[in-house]
């Protein structure tokens, strides 16, 4: 009994001792970052076994901020089910795993979403030949839908609100949805817009498929850390913000060296020429400079991984800067 009690005490201690992730990471010498087991454009191993994607860049940015070295990161693959326990048990320092920011995850599960690196939303994809231009015209359609997800509930809400009916064809995985749609067993496939884009890109003739303009849900995807370690949360939050601010200020990986002698005060603050913002975060003063130099600003990461020039062809849309019609907005760097 005494032994049992002491085990509980140790466990309780282990949970309370999570403060100081930054020190843990520094002592360990590398960052442990939880990513998906593979999602096109967000995190997937490339031909040389390096992880690439928007979320992988997020992990690397944090590694660069802490160590000044983009290779000081170990990617831990997690699934939709294992991601939260993996973070809670301290096996990873942060998650960048296309996770939707919701109140229950933020509050009830004891995590802290530090920002949004991709604004996604549920959309519809149909064959162009169906001749439909809006989701409200889908009365009576057969819809392929992943069971047990929020997309299922969103779909029901949307059709009820518009007073139209549908028939659901339940599927388990994205692959299954793709096969069913391509084989004509359902008229519509609905999932997150980024997922639709990758499905469309995988088709032998992408022009035969069309993503409808309606987005029926909010899916803000962002990196998250454990509750209660604000210092570490700040490091991750400002690593993301630094990339967004860099885009806003027009600082790119190519011109970052020239920008060191810029006459814009915020650029100088961002690059660590003025002020001691690095010290405040307990990082080196050129941490943001290194992120931009080694990873690039948000736009560079977006264009390289999911943008219009990639097979995914996802337009900036909501993910454009607030000055360019999107809602991407980072607090000022001062």
């Amino acid at each position: 009994m005494k032994k049992l009690l002491s085990i509980f005490a140790v466990v309780a201690f282990a949970f309370s001792a999570h403060a100081g992730t930054l020190d843990d990471v520094k002592n360990r010498g590398f960052l442990k970052c939880g990513v998906t087991t593979g999602l096109a454009g967000f995190a997937a191993p490339d031909d040389s076994g390096e992880w690439a994607g928007l979320d992988a860049d997020m992990c690397r940015a944090v590694a660069v901020a802490v160590f000044g070295d983009r290779s000081k990161v170990e990617f831990i693959t997690t699934t939709g089910k294992s991601r939260f326990p993996t973070l809670a048990s301290g096996e990873v320092d942060m998650l960048a795993r296309n996770t939707t920011w919701t109140i229950s995850r933020d509050v009830n599960l004891g995590f802290e979403f530090v920002g949004v690196n991709f604004y996604d939303g549920q959309g519809f994809m149909v064959p162009s030949a169906l001749g439909v231009s809006s989701a409200t015209e889908l009365d009576g359609a057969t819809v392929c839908i992943q069971t047990g997800t929020t997309t299922e509930l969103n779909l029901a809400d949307f059709f009820r609100l518009n007073g139209i009916s549908y028939e659901a064809l339940p599927i388990e995985t994205n692959d299954e949805g793709k096969e069913n749609l391509f084989a004509g067993r359902c008229d519509v496939y609905t999932t997150d817009a980024s997922g639709l884009s990758s499905t469309r890109a995988a088709a032998s003739n992408p022009d035969k498929w069309k993503v409808l303009p309606e987005i029926i849900s909010k899916e803000p995807l962002g990196p998250l850390v454990r509750h209660g370690d604000h210092q570490w949360g700040d490091v991750v939050r400002w690593s993301l913000n630094a990339m967004i601010i860099a885009e806003e200020l027009g600082v790119t990986s190519e011109n970052v060296d020239a920008q060191m002698s810029s006459n814009v005060p915020e650029v100088l603050r961002l690059l660590g020429v003025e002020g001691n913002y690095g010290e405040m975060l307990e990082l080196s003063n050129d941490w943001a400079y290194q992120i931009i130099k080694q990873i690039g600003n948000y736009s560079e990461s977006y264009e390289a991984n999911v943008g219009p020039d990639t097979p995914l062809e996802i337009a900036r849309g909501l993910n454009a800067l607030w000055t360019q019609g999107g809602i991407l907005y980072a607090p000022p760097f001062r």
Binding site: V10, V11, P45, D46, I76, T77, S198
Partner: protein, 377 residues
């Protein structure tokens, strides 16, 4: 007189190819109908599959002669009329399929481990191997060597299991699971049949509990619950946790298989052993288990093959085995849409291993003449 000596040949219709065909394929009209139907299906299917997999497939270059580096360069995507499978994705990703993310400078260690695995299996597969005894010693110490080789230590740089993947993970899980489950399973089977109520109850409870939950649940238990029981300082490796779950699962099944074998042994064998004054352990080791395991070979191989395939479930806890690497490849924007090639390749690799296991089991059955006159030969 000559006519008497002449040996009459059997009717043409019962010997040779024609006879074999008549007896096996065209015995009566239903039989003939089924044969014709199957031949028709094969006639439709085989040329198509050969064409797709070999004749009009791309291996490294597409039909324009360019080296393929992404799916858009595959012949069938350049020109849907032209081209079958695009094996270039396997060619480009071969390293990942076989070694996962193992660092390239250290990969010789995995190769050595693969070669040593073959060497360690040799004395188990061929009883007539010269110097078999010495080879067997090697087999016993192989797991230790493999551990240091793959994981590091003893002068090797450490390679975190997080970097393992592909066939390496599949083989580590399969081999460790099967090898550890066998002795544990025997102990559990003997325990369950024990006359000591505490032991038999504990073994029964363990077996029934493990058999009563799906492997996925155990994997989650290993992945999620185990770390909660450990203090933060003791960081149990992810792969080890999965190994624990897989081994527990397999040993429960193995125990039941071996118990089946034990129950098939006639009571006379036990009585004879006891009448010779043998102790419990001597009786089991020398008389009962050799016979029980011999008749259990088919189901043992059956559960082992089952486990080998079940290892693909580890994707659920975020470990990238052979199938996981395949799925990861499909998520690379360069290779979107090549699911047929990747799943075909993964199933082929699994088929080679499982078919090998089942052939080996047939060979063992023949060699040991299982199922003949048990207890009386």
């Amino acid at each position: 007189m000559n006519e008497m000596n002449e040996v009459r040949k059997p009717p043409v219709a019962t010997t040779g190819i024609i006879g074999w065909l008549r007896i096996n394929l065209f015995f009566n009209w239903t039989n003939s109908l089924i044969t014709l139907f199957v031949i028709y299906c094969l006639y439709q299917f085989i040329p198509w599959i050969l064409d797709w997999t070999i004749f009009s497939a791309d291996f490294k270059y597409n039909y324009l002669g360019e080296q393929i580096t992404n799916q858009e360069m595959c012949s069938r995507n350049l020109d849907p009329e032209n081209g079958g499978a695009c094996w270039a994705v396997i060619y480009v990703r071969f390293y990942q399929f076989i070694y996962g993310f193992y660092p390239k400078v250290e990969v010789w260690r995995v190769n050595v481990a693969y070669a040593m695995l073959a060497l360690a299996l040799l004395p188990l597969l061929y009883a007539k191997l010269p110097y078999r005894k010495y080879f067997l010693y090697f087999t016993y110490i192989f797991p230790v060597i493999a551990y240091f080789l793959l994981n590091g230590g003893l002068g090797f740089t450490e390679v975190s299991t997080n970097k393992w993947g592909g066939l390496l993970v599949t083989l580590v899980l399969g081999c460790t699971g099967i090898a550890l489950a066998f002795p544990i399973g025997i102990m559990l089977a003997l325990g369950r049949r024990s006359k000591l109520p505490v032991i038999s109850m504990m073994c029964t409870l363990f077996i029934e509990f493990i058999r009563g939950v799906p492997l996925i649940t155990l994997l989650f238990f290993g992945m999620v619950m185990l770390p909660l029981f450990l203090p933060e300082g003791i960081d149990m490796d992810g792969l080890v946790r999965v190994l624990v779950a897989v081994t527990l699962f397999q040993s429960a099944y193995m125990a039941e298989v071996i118990r089946g074998g034990l129950q098939a042994i006639p009571p006379g064998q036990y009585e004879a052993a006891k009448s010779l004054g043998m102790s419990y352990w001597r009786m089991n080791l020398l008389i009962i288990l050799p016979q029980a395991i011999r008749i259990s070979i088919p189901p043992i191989v059956n559960t082992s093959i089952g486990l080998f395939k079940d290892t693909t479930l580890v994707i659920i806890v975020g470990i990238l085995d052979l199938l996981g690497i395949g799925r990861g490849t499909l998520a690379d924007t360069n290779w979107l849409g090549l699911s047929y090639e990747i799943y075909f390749f993964v199933s082929l690799v699994f088929f080679i291993f499982t078919f090998g296991m089942s052939r080996y089991s047939l060979y063992l059955e023949k060699k040991l003449k299982t199922g003949i006159n048990m207890g009386a030969d």
